[in-house]
Symmetry: C2
Subunit: 245 residues, 2 copies
DNA sequence: GACAAGCAAATTGTCGACAATCTAACAAGG
DNA sequence: CCTTGTTAGATTGTCGACAATTTGCTTGTC
Protein backbone atom coordinates (compact mmCIF):
# COMPACT_ATOMS: atom_id res chain seq x y z
CA UNK A 1 0.00 0.00 0.00
CA UNK A 2 1.22 3.44 -0.84
CA UNK A 3 2.12 5.46 2.23
CA UNK A 4 -0.35 8.30 2.00
CA UNK A 5 -1.01 10.78 4.78
CA UNK A 6 -4.51 12.11 4.83
CA UNK A 7 -4.99 15.48 6.38
CA UNK A 8 -7.60 15.65 9.13
CA UNK A 9 -11.16 16.30 8.09
CA UNK A 10 -12.17 19.91 8.48
CA UNK A 11 -14.11 20.77 11.61
CA UNK A 12 -17.70 20.95 10.47
CA UNK A 13 -19.13 22.56 13.56
CA UNK A 14 -20.69 25.96 13.39
CA UNK A 15 -18.60 26.93 16.37
CA UNK A 16 -15.37 26.46 14.44
CA UNK A 17 -16.60 28.49 11.52
CA UNK A 18 -17.77 31.26 13.80
CA UNK A 19 -14.36 31.35 15.43
CA UNK A 20 -12.77 31.70 12.02
CA UNK A 21 -15.14 34.45 10.97
CA UNK A 22 -14.78 36.46 14.15
CA UNK A 23 -11.04 36.03 14.20
CA UNK A 24 -10.68 37.26 10.67
CA UNK A 25 -12.91 40.24 11.41
CA UNK A 26 -10.81 41.18 14.42
CA UNK A 27 -7.39 40.49 12.94
CA UNK A 28 -8.14 42.51 9.82
CA UNK A 29 -9.36 45.40 11.91
CA UNK A 30 -12.96 45.24 10.70
CA UNK A 31 -13.91 45.02 14.33
CA UNK A 32 -12.14 47.83 16.07
CA UNK A 33 -10.43 47.70 19.46
CA UNK A 34 -12.77 48.29 22.36
CA UNK A 35 -15.82 47.57 20.27
CA UNK A 36 -18.58 45.62 21.91
CA UNK A 37 -19.84 42.43 20.34
CA UNK A 38 -23.61 42.21 20.53
CA UNK A 39 -24.46 38.53 20.66
CA UNK A 40 -27.98 38.76 19.32
CA UNK A 41 -27.03 40.92 16.39
CA UNK A 42 -24.05 38.83 15.36
CA UNK A 43 -26.01 35.61 15.78
CA UNK A 44 -28.73 36.93 13.51
CA UNK A 45 -26.25 38.11 10.93
CA UNK A 46 -24.53 34.74 10.88
CA UNK A 47 -27.84 32.86 11.00
CA UNK A 48 -26.83 30.81 14.02
CA UNK A 49 -28.09 30.66 17.57
CA UNK A 50 -26.27 32.29 20.43
CA UNK A 51 -24.99 29.01 21.89
CA UNK A 52 -22.24 28.26 19.36
CA UNK A 53 -21.51 31.97 19.05
CA UNK A 54 -20.95 32.28 22.78
CA UNK A 55 -18.72 29.24 22.81
CA UNK A 56 -16.70 30.71 19.98
CA UNK A 57 -16.38 33.97 21.87
CA UNK A 58 -15.16 32.12 24.96
CA UNK A 59 -12.37 30.67 22.87
CA UNK A 60 -11.33 34.05 21.56
CA UNK A 61 -11.42 35.51 25.05
CA UNK A 62 -9.01 32.83 26.17
CA UNK A 63 -6.95 33.44 23.07
CA UNK A 64 -6.48 36.99 24.25
CA UNK A 65 -8.11 39.03 21.49
CA UNK A 66 -11.43 39.50 23.28
CA UNK A 67 -12.18 40.43 26.87
CA UNK A 68 -15.35 39.64 28.71
CA UNK A 69 -17.12 41.31 31.61
CA UNK A 70 -19.98 39.30 33.11
CA UNK A 71 -23.38 40.75 32.32
CA UNK A 72 -21.74 43.69 30.57
CA UNK A 73 -20.48 42.24 27.34
CA UNK A 74 -17.57 40.95 25.32
CA UNK A 75 -15.22 43.45 23.72
CA UNK A 76 -12.36 43.49 21.28
CA UNK A 77 -9.21 44.06 23.29
CA UNK A 78 -7.86 47.54 23.50
CA UNK A 79 -4.44 48.20 22.12
CA UNK A 80 -2.04 50.27 24.14
CA UNK A 81 1.53 51.16 23.37
CA UNK A 82 2.60 49.06 26.32
CA UNK A 83 0.76 46.00 25.02
CA UNK A 84 2.60 46.28 21.75
CA UNK A 85 5.90 46.86 23.47
CA UNK A 86 5.34 43.86 25.73
CA UNK A 87 4.44 41.62 22.83
CA UNK A 88 7.44 42.86 20.91
CA UNK A 89 9.85 42.19 23.78
CA UNK A 90 8.64 38.68 24.29
CA UNK A 91 8.59 37.98 20.60
CA UNK A 92 12.25 38.86 20.41
CA UNK A 93 13.07 36.34 23.13
CA UNK A 94 10.99 33.65 21.49
CA UNK A 95 12.63 34.29 18.15
CA UNK A 96 16.10 33.84 19.53
CA UNK A 97 15.04 30.61 21.17
CA UNK A 98 13.32 29.36 18.03
CA UNK A 99 16.35 30.08 15.86
CA UNK A 100 18.62 28.32 18.32
CA UNK A 101 16.46 25.21 18.28
CA UNK A 102 15.75 25.26 14.57
CA UNK A 103 19.35 25.81 13.59
CA UNK A 104 20.60 22.19 13.74
CA UNK A 105 17.34 20.93 12.22
CA UNK A 106 17.55 22.93 9.01
CA UNK A 107 17.46 20.77 5.90
CA UNK A 108 16.45 21.05 2.26
CA UNK A 109 12.76 20.92 3.12
CA UNK A 110 13.27 23.81 5.50
CA UNK A 111 14.99 25.92 2.89
CA UNK A 112 12.33 25.09 0.32
CA UNK A 113 9.56 26.06 2.69
CA UNK A 114 11.44 29.22 3.59
CA UNK A 115 11.61 30.18 -0.07
CA UNK A 116 7.98 29.29 -0.61
CA UNK A 117 6.80 31.56 2.17
CA UNK A 118 9.16 34.30 1.14
CA UNK A 119 7.72 34.12 -2.34
CA UNK A 120 4.20 34.39 -0.91
CA UNK A 121 5.13 37.63 0.82
CA UNK A 122 6.59 39.05 -2.34
CA UNK A 123 3.47 38.06 -4.27
CA UNK A 124 1.21 39.76 -1.74
CA UNK A 125 3.42 42.83 -1.94
CA UNK A 126 3.12 42.90 -5.73
CA UNK A 127 -0.65 42.56 -5.41
CA UNK A 128 -0.75 45.48 -2.97
CA UNK A 129 -2.86 43.26 -0.73
CA UNK A 130 -1.95 44.61 2.68
CA UNK A 131 -3.97 42.11 4.69
CA UNK A 132 -2.41 39.20 2.87
CA UNK A 133 0.99 40.85 3.14
CA UNK A 134 0.76 40.92 6.91
CA UNK A 135 -0.51 37.38 6.97
CA UNK A 136 2.22 35.97 4.79
CA UNK A 137 4.96 37.91 6.53
CA UNK A 138 3.92 36.44 9.83
CA UNK A 139 3.79 32.98 8.28
CA UNK A 140 7.30 33.44 6.97
CA UNK A 141 8.35 34.52 10.39
CA UNK A 142 6.57 31.58 11.98
CA UNK A 143 8.54 28.92 10.18
CA UNK A 144 11.35 28.93 12.71
CA UNK A 145 8.80 28.39 15.45
CA UNK A 146 7.19 25.50 13.63
CA UNK A 147 10.52 23.95 12.81
CA UNK A 148 11.96 24.23 16.30
CA UNK A 149 10.04 21.12 17.26
CA UNK A 150 8.73 22.56 20.51
CA UNK A 151 4.96 22.38 20.66
CA UNK A 152 4.68 24.73 23.60
CA UNK A 153 6.82 27.33 21.87
CA UNK A 154 4.74 27.03 18.72
CA UNK A 155 1.52 27.39 20.62
CA UNK A 156 2.84 30.43 22.46
CA UNK A 157 4.01 32.05 19.30
CA UNK A 158 0.71 31.45 17.56
CA UNK A 159 -1.12 33.18 20.37
CA UNK A 160 1.27 36.08 20.09
CA UNK A 161 0.80 36.14 16.34
CA UNK A 162 -2.92 36.76 16.68
CA UNK A 163 -2.22 40.01 18.41
CA UNK A 164 0.67 40.98 16.20
CA UNK A 165 -1.52 40.51 13.16
CA UNK A 166 -4.16 42.71 14.75
CA UNK A 167 -1.63 45.39 15.64
CA UNK A 168 -0.16 45.49 12.17
CA UNK A 169 -3.58 45.55 10.55
CA UNK A 170 -4.61 48.49 12.71
CA UNK A 171 -1.41 50.24 11.86
CA UNK A 172 -1.84 49.75 8.15
CA UNK A 173 -5.41 50.90 8.41
CA UNK A 174 -4.43 54.07 10.26
CA UNK A 175 -1.87 55.23 7.76
CA UNK A 176 -3.45 54.89 4.39
CA UNK A 177 -0.16 55.09 2.54
CA UNK A 178 0.67 52.38 0.06
CA UNK A 179 2.64 49.37 1.16
CA UNK A 180 6.42 49.54 0.93
CA UNK A 181 7.39 47.81 -2.25
CA UNK A 182 10.90 46.81 -1.20
CA UNK A 183 11.68 43.36 0.04
CA UNK A 184 12.28 43.64 3.76
CA UNK A 185 12.83 39.94 4.30
CA UNK A 186 15.68 39.28 1.89
CA UNK A 187 18.38 39.51 4.55
CA UNK A 188 16.37 37.54 7.05
CA UNK A 189 15.98 34.62 4.67
CA UNK A 190 19.59 34.75 3.62
CA UNK A 191 20.88 34.66 7.17
CA UNK A 192 18.62 31.75 8.04
CA UNK A 193 20.24 29.85 5.19
CA UNK A 194 23.74 30.81 6.25
CA UNK A 195 26.19 29.50 8.79
CA UNK A 196 26.22 32.22 11.43
CA UNK A 197 23.46 31.57 13.93
CA UNK A 198 24.26 34.57 16.09
CA UNK A 199 23.99 36.84 13.09
CA UNK A 200 20.59 35.40 12.27
CA UNK A 201 19.41 35.92 15.82
CA UNK A 202 20.71 39.44 15.89
CA UNK A 203 19.09 40.31 12.61
CA UNK A 204 15.79 38.81 13.69
CA UNK A 205 15.72 41.20 16.62
CA UNK A 206 16.66 44.19 14.54
CA UNK A 207 14.34 43.22 11.75
CA UNK A 208 11.41 43.06 14.12
CA UNK A 209 12.57 46.31 15.56
CA UNK A 210 12.02 48.00 12.25
CA UNK A 211 8.48 46.75 11.97
CA UNK A 212 7.65 47.53 15.55
CA UNK A 213 9.05 51.03 15.62
CA UNK A 214 6.27 52.21 13.38
CA UNK A 215 3.75 50.24 15.38
CA UNK A 216 4.84 51.83 18.61
CA UNK A 217 4.64 55.29 17.13
CA UNK A 218 1.13 54.53 15.97
CA UNK A 219 0.11 53.15 19.35
CA UNK A 220 1.55 56.11 21.19
CA UNK A 221 -0.49 58.31 18.94
CA UNK A 222 -3.54 56.36 19.96
CA UNK A 223 -2.71 56.83 23.61
CA UNK A 224 -2.62 60.57 23.32
CA UNK A 225 -5.84 60.84 21.39
CA UNK A 226 -7.72 58.83 24.02
CA UNK A 227 -5.61 60.06 26.87
CA UNK A 228 -8.57 60.57 29.19
CA UNK A 229 -8.69 56.83 29.72
CA UNK A 230 -5.17 56.78 31.09
CA UNK A 231 -5.84 55.46 34.54
CA UNK A 232 -9.33 54.13 33.98
CA UNK A 233 -10.23 50.56 33.45
CA UNK A 234 -9.93 49.96 29.76
CA UNK A 235 -12.71 47.43 29.57
CA UNK A 236 -15.10 49.67 31.41
CA UNK A 237 -14.25 52.54 29.14
CA UNK A 238 -15.01 50.27 26.23
CA UNK A 239 -18.58 49.91 27.37
CA UNK A 240 -19.36 53.43 26.32
CA UNK A 241 -18.13 52.95 22.81
CA UNK A 242 -20.40 52.22 19.89
CA UNK A 243 -21.72 48.78 19.18
CA UNK A 244 -20.99 46.70 16.18
CA UNK A 245 -23.30 47.43 13.33
CA UNK B 1 -9.72 60.34 50.62
CA UNK B 2 -7.59 57.38 51.56
CA UNK B 3 -6.10 55.67 48.54
CA UNK B 4 -7.79 52.31 48.81
CA UNK B 5 -7.67 49.66 46.11
CA UNK B 6 -10.75 47.51 46.07
CA UNK B 7 -10.32 44.05 44.71
CA UNK B 8 -12.62 43.14 41.86
CA UNK B 9 -15.97 41.64 42.76
CA UNK B 10 -16.00 37.91 42.34
CA UNK B 11 -17.41 36.67 39.06
CA UNK B 12 -20.83 35.41 39.95
CA UNK B 13 -21.45 33.44 36.81
CA UNK B 14 -21.79 29.69 36.96
CA UNK B 15 -19.37 29.49 34.09
CA UNK B 16 -16.55 31.00 36.13
CA UNK B 17 -17.16 28.64 39.02
CA UNK B 18 -17.28 25.65 36.73
CA UNK B 19 -13.97 26.70 35.23
CA UNK B 20 -12.47 26.87 38.70
CA UNK B 21 -13.85 23.48 39.71
CA UNK B 22 -12.74 21.73 36.55
CA UNK B 23 -9.35 23.36 36.62
CA UNK B 24 -8.73 22.28 40.17
CA UNK B 25 -9.84 18.74 39.37
CA UNK B 26 -7.45 18.57 36.45
CA UNK B 27 -4.49 20.32 38.05
CA UNK B 28 -4.64 18.15 41.14
CA UNK B 29 -4.79 15.03 39.03
CA UNK B 30 -8.29 14.02 40.09
CA UNK B 31 -9.13 13.95 36.44
CA UNK B 32 -6.47 11.85 34.78
CA UNK B 33 -4.78 12.58 31.46
CA UNK B 34 -6.68 11.27 28.48
CA UNK B 35 -9.88 10.94 30.45
CA UNK B 36 -13.07 11.89 28.68
CA UNK B 37 -15.37 14.47 30.18
CA UNK B 38 -18.99 13.42 29.83
CA UNK B 39 -20.99 16.63 29.64
CA UNK B 40 -24.29 15.26 30.82
CA UNK B 41 -22.80 13.50 33.81
CA UNK B 42 -20.70 16.45 34.95
CA UNK B 43 -23.59 18.86 34.42
CA UNK B 44 -25.83 16.70 36.60
CA UNK B 45 -23.19 16.37 39.30
CA UNK B 46 -22.67 20.13 39.40
CA UNK B 47 -26.41 20.82 39.11
CA UNK B 48 -26.00 23.10 36.13
CA UNK B 49 -27.08 22.88 32.55
CA UNK B 50 -24.73 21.95 29.78
CA UNK B 51 -24.54 25.46 28.34
CA UNK B 52 -22.27 27.06 30.96
CA UNK B 53 -20.39 23.79 31.33
CA UNK B 54 -19.61 23.69 27.64
CA UNK B 55 -18.50 27.32 27.68
CA UNK B 56 -16.21 26.56 30.58
CA UNK B 57 -14.77 23.59 28.74
CA UNK B 58 -14.11 25.77 25.70
CA UNK B 59 -12.04 28.06 27.88
CA UNK B 60 -9.99 25.20 29.24
CA UNK B 61 -9.46 23.80 25.78
CA UNK B 62 -8.03 27.13 24.74
CA UNK B 63 -6.00 27.22 27.92
CA UNK B 64 -4.34 24.03 26.79
CA UNK B 65 -5.32 21.54 29.48
CA UNK B 66 -8.25 20.02 27.57
CA UNK B 67 -8.51 18.91 23.98
CA UNK B 68 -11.68 18.64 22.00
CA UNK B 69 -12.69 16.51 19.05
CA UNK B 70 -15.99 17.48 17.42
CA UNK B 71 -18.76 15.00 18.04
CA UNK B 72 -16.32 12.75 19.90
CA UNK B 73 -15.76 14.53 23.17
CA UNK B 74 -13.49 16.67 25.28
CA UNK B 75 -10.52 15.05 27.00
CA UNK B 76 -7.90 15.93 29.55
CA UNK B 77 -4.66 16.45 27.65
CA UNK B 78 -2.24 13.58 27.52
CA UNK B 79 1.15 14.08 29.04
CA UNK B 80 4.16 12.89 27.11
CA UNK B 81 7.82 13.20 28.01
CA UNK B 82 8.22 15.54 25.08
CA UNK B 83 5.46 17.84 26.30
CA UNK B 84 7.19 18.15 29.64
CA UNK B 85 10.54 18.69 28.01
CA UNK B 86 9.10 21.35 25.72
CA UNK B 87 7.43 23.17 28.58
CA UNK B 88 10.62 22.97 30.59
CA UNK B 89 12.76 24.39 27.81
CA UNK B 90 10.49 27.32 27.23
CA UNK B 91 10.11 27.94 30.92
CA UNK B 92 13.86 28.30 31.21
CA UNK B 93 13.88 30.95 28.52
CA UNK B 94 10.98 32.81 30.07
CA UNK B 95 12.66 32.74 33.47
CA UNK B 96 15.83 34.30 32.19
CA UNK B 97 13.83 37.02 30.50
CA UNK B 98 11.70 37.61 33.58
CA UNK B 99 14.72 37.91 35.86
CA UNK B 100 16.36 40.32 33.45
CA UNK B 101 13.31 42.55 33.41
CA UNK B 102 12.54 42.25 37.08
CA UNK B 103 16.10 42.91 38.18
CA UNK B 104 16.09 46.72 38.05
CA UNK B 105 12.57 46.85 39.47
CA UNK B 106 13.32 45.02 42.68
CA UNK B 107 12.43 46.99 45.79
CA UNK B 108 11.45 46.38 49.39
CA UNK B 109 7.95 45.32 48.44
CA UNK B 110 9.45 42.77 46.08
CA UNK B 111 11.68 41.31 48.75
CA UNK B 112 8.82 41.22 51.23
CA UNK B 113 6.59 39.42 48.79
CA UNK B 114 9.41 37.04 47.96
CA UNK B 115 9.79 36.16 51.63
CA UNK B 116 6.05 35.82 52.06
CA UNK B 117 5.75 33.32 49.24
CA UNK B 118 8.85 31.48 50.35
CA UNK B 119 7.32 31.14 53.79
CA UNK B 120 4.12 29.78 52.25
CA UNK B 121 6.09 27.02 50.56
CA UNK B 122 7.85 26.12 53.80
CA UNK B 123 4.52 26.05 55.61
CA UNK B 124 2.99 23.72 53.02
CA UNK B 125 6.07 21.54 53.29
CA UNK B 126 5.70 21.33 57.06
CA UNK B 127 2.03 20.45 56.62
CA UNK B 128 2.96 17.67 54.21
CA UNK B 129 0.31 19.09 51.90
CA UNK B 130 1.71 18.12 48.51
CA UNK B 131 -0.95 19.84 46.44
CA UNK B 132 -0.46 23.09 48.28
CA UNK B 133 3.28 22.64 48.14
CA UNK B 134 3.21 22.51 44.37
CA UNK B 135 0.87 25.46 44.25
CA UNK B 136 2.94 27.67 46.52
CA UNK B 137 6.21 26.73 44.87
CA UNK B 138 4.83 27.81 41.52
CA UNK B 139 3.56 31.03 43.05
CA UNK B 140 6.98 31.73 44.48
CA UNK B 141 8.42 31.06 41.09
CA UNK B 142 5.83 33.27 39.44
CA UNK B 143 6.79 36.42 41.30
CA UNK B 144 9.52 37.34 38.84
CA UNK B 145 7.02 37.03 36.02
CA UNK B 146 4.53 39.24 37.79
CA UNK B 147 7.14 41.78 38.70
CA UNK B 148 8.68 42.01 35.25
CA UNK B 149 5.87 44.32 34.21
CA UNK B 150 5.21 42.57 30.94
CA UNK B 151 1.58 41.50 30.67
CA UNK B 152 2.19 39.21 27.73
CA UNK B 153 4.99 37.45 29.54
CA UNK B 154 2.86 37.01 32.62
CA UNK B 155 -0.02 35.63 30.61
CA UNK B 156 2.27 33.23 28.83
CA UNK B 157 3.80 32.04 32.05
CA UNK B 158 0.43 31.53 33.67
CA UNK B 159 -0.62 29.29 30.81
CA UNK B 160 2.57 27.32 31.21
CA UNK B 161 1.98 27.09 34.93
CA UNK B 162 -1.31 25.33 34.46
CA UNK B 163 0.45 22.49 32.78
CA UNK B 164 3.42 22.49 35.09
CA UNK B 165 1.10 22.20 38.06
CA UNK B 166 -0.62 19.29 36.39
CA UNK B 167 2.65 17.58 35.61
CA UNK B 168 3.97 17.94 39.11
CA UNK B 169 0.71 16.76 40.61
CA UNK B 170 0.76 13.67 38.44
CA UNK B 171 4.32 13.04 39.39
CA UNK B 172 3.63 13.35 43.09
CA UNK B 173 0.64 11.13 42.71
CA UNK B 174 2.63 8.44 40.92
CA UNK B 175 5.37 8.15 43.51
CA UNK B 176 3.65 7.95 46.81
CA UNK B 177 6.76 8.80 48.78
CA UNK B 178 6.59 11.62 51.26
CA UNK B 179 7.52 15.10 50.18
CA UNK B 180 11.14 16.16 50.51
CA UNK B 181 11.46 18.10 53.71
CA UNK B 182 14.47 20.18 52.76
CA UNK B 183 14.13 23.70 51.55
CA UNK B 184 14.90 23.68 47.86
CA UNK B 185 14.24 27.36 47.33
CA UNK B 186 16.66 28.88 49.82
CA UNK B 187 19.35 29.55 47.27
CA UNK B 188 16.90 30.79 44.69
CA UNK B 189 15.49 33.40 47.04
CA UNK B 190 18.94 34.45 48.23
CA UNK B 191 20.23 34.96 44.71
CA UNK B 192 17.17 37.00 43.75
CA UNK B 193 18.01 39.29 46.63
CA UNK B 194 21.67 39.53 45.68
CA UNK B 195 23.60 41.61 43.20
CA UNK B 196 24.60 39.06 40.59
CA UNK B 197 21.86 38.79 38.00
CA UNK B 198 23.66 36.23 35.89
CA UNK B 199 24.03 33.98 38.91
CA UNK B 200 20.34 34.21 39.61
CA UNK B 201 19.50 33.37 36.02
CA UNK B 202 21.88 30.45 36.01
CA UNK B 203 20.52 29.08 39.24
CA UNK B 204 16.95 29.44 38.05
CA UNK B 205 17.74 27.19 35.13
CA UNK B 206 19.54 24.65 37.24
CA UNK B 207 16.96 24.80 39.96
CA UNK B 208 14.23 23.99 37.51
CA UNK B 209 16.42 21.32 36.12
CA UNK B 210 16.31 19.52 39.41
CA UNK B 211 12.56 19.57 39.57
CA UNK B 212 12.16 18.57 35.98
CA UNK B 213 14.61 15.72 35.99
CA UNK B 214 12.29 13.68 38.13
CA UNK B 215 9.33 14.74 36.04
CA UNK B 216 11.01 13.60 32.86
CA UNK B 217 11.91 10.26 34.34
CA UNK B 218 8.31 9.84 35.40
CA UNK B 219 7.00 10.83 31.98
CA UNK B 220 9.39 8.52 30.19
CA UNK B 221 8.11 5.74 32.37
CA UNK B 222 4.62 6.60 31.26
CA UNK B 223 5.65 6.45 27.64
CA UNK B 224 6.96 2.93 27.93
CA UNK B 225 3.94 1.64 29.76
CA UNK B 226 1.59 2.90 27.09
CA UNK B 227 4.06 2.41 24.28
CA UNK B 228 1.50 0.96 21.90
CA UNK B 229 0.21 4.46 21.31
CA UNK B 230 3.59 5.61 20.09
CA UNK B 231 2.67 6.68 16.59
CA UNK B 232 -1.08 6.85 17.02
CA UNK B 233 -3.11 9.95 17.52
CA UNK B 234 -3.14 10.59 21.22
CA UNK B 235 -6.60 12.06 21.33
CA UNK B 236 -8.08 9.19 19.41
CA UNK B 237 -6.43 6.76 21.76
CA UNK B 238 -7.98 8.67 24.61
CA UNK B 239 -11.43 7.91 23.30
CA UNK B 240 -11.11 4.31 24.31
CA UNK B 241 -10.25 5.12 27.87
CA UNK B 242 -12.77 5.03 30.65
CA UNK B 243 -15.16 7.87 31.29
CA UNK B 244 -15.24 10.04 34.31
CA UNK B 245 -17.43 8.57 36.93
C1' DG C 1 -31.92 72.20 39.80
C1' DA C 2 -30.02 68.09 42.42
C1' DC C 3 -30.80 63.67 43.85
C1' DA C 4 -32.81 59.14 45.00
C1' DA C 5 -36.28 55.52 43.92
C1' DG C 6 -38.41 52.97 40.70
C1' DC C 7 -39.66 51.38 36.23
C1' DA C 8 -38.80 49.72 31.29
C1' DA C 9 -35.83 48.25 27.72
C1' DA C 10 -31.94 45.89 26.26
C1' DT C 11 -28.45 42.45 26.93
C1' DT C 12 -26.20 38.64 28.96
C1' DG C 13 -26.52 34.10 31.49
C1' DT C 14 -28.88 29.75 31.87
C1' DC C 15 -32.10 26.14 30.89
C1' DG C 16 -34.48 22.15 28.70
C1' DA C 17 -35.45 19.98 24.33
C1' DC C 18 -34.35 18.65 19.69
C1' DA C 19 -31.09 17.63 15.74
C1' DA C 20 -26.75 15.77 14.07
C1' DT C 21 -23.19 12.64 14.63
C1' DC C 22 -20.50 8.91 16.38
C1' DT C 23 -19.86 4.16 18.36
C1' DA C 24 -20.76 -0.45 18.89
C1' DA C 25 -23.31 -4.43 18.11
C1' DC C 26 -25.35 -7.29 14.85
C1' DA C 27 -26.84 -9.23 10.36
C1' DA C 28 -25.88 -10.28 5.45
C1' DG C 29 -22.94 -11.43 1.84
C1' DG C 30 -18.65 -12.73 -0.30
C1' DC D 1 -13.26 -15.65 8.32
C1' DC D 2 -13.38 -11.11 6.78
C1' DT D 3 -15.82 -7.31 5.03
C1' DT D 4 -19.83 -4.38 4.42
C1' DG D 5 -24.46 -2.50 5.48
C1' DT D 6 -27.82 -1.59 9.10
C1' DT D 7 -29.66 -0.27 13.32
C1' DA D 8 -30.04 1.25 18.25
C1' DG D 9 -28.05 3.72 21.85
C1' DA D 10 -25.37 7.26 23.67
C1' DT D 11 -23.16 11.73 23.25
C1' DT D 12 -22.23 16.07 21.30
C1' DG D 13 -23.92 20.28 18.71
C1' DT D 14 -27.56 23.62 18.20
C1' DC D 15 -31.82 25.95 19.02
C1' DG D 16 -35.49 28.89 21.08
C1' DA D 17 -37.28 30.53 25.40
C1' DC D 18 -36.81 32.14 30.06
C1' DA D 19 -34.25 34.20 34.14
C1' DA D 20 -30.89 37.47 35.97
C1' DT D 21 -28.55 41.65 35.57
C1' DT D 22 -27.40 46.10 33.91
C1' DT D 23 -28.41 50.62 32.03
C1' DG D 24 -30.92 54.74 31.11
C1' DC D 25 -34.99 57.14 31.68
C1' DT D 26 -38.72 58.84 34.32
C1' DT D 27 -40.83 60.35 38.32
C1' DG D 28 -41.23 62.33 42.65
C1' DT D 29 -39.23 64.90 46.45
C1' DC D 30 -36.52 68.39 48.62
Amino acid sequence: MAKLDFSPIADTTRRAEIVALLKRAILTGQLEPGQKLNELRIAEQMRVSRAPLREAMRELVQEGILTSIPYAGTFVIDVTAKDIDDAYSLNKVLDEFAIERTWPLRDQRFFDELDRRHEAVKQATRDLNTTRQIETALQLHGLIHEWAGNSVLLETWQRLTSRLQMYFALHQRARKEPVPAEDLHETYVRLLKGADMRAAQRHASEHIDGDFEQLLAYAQGLEQRTSKGAGANRAVAARNRPDDG
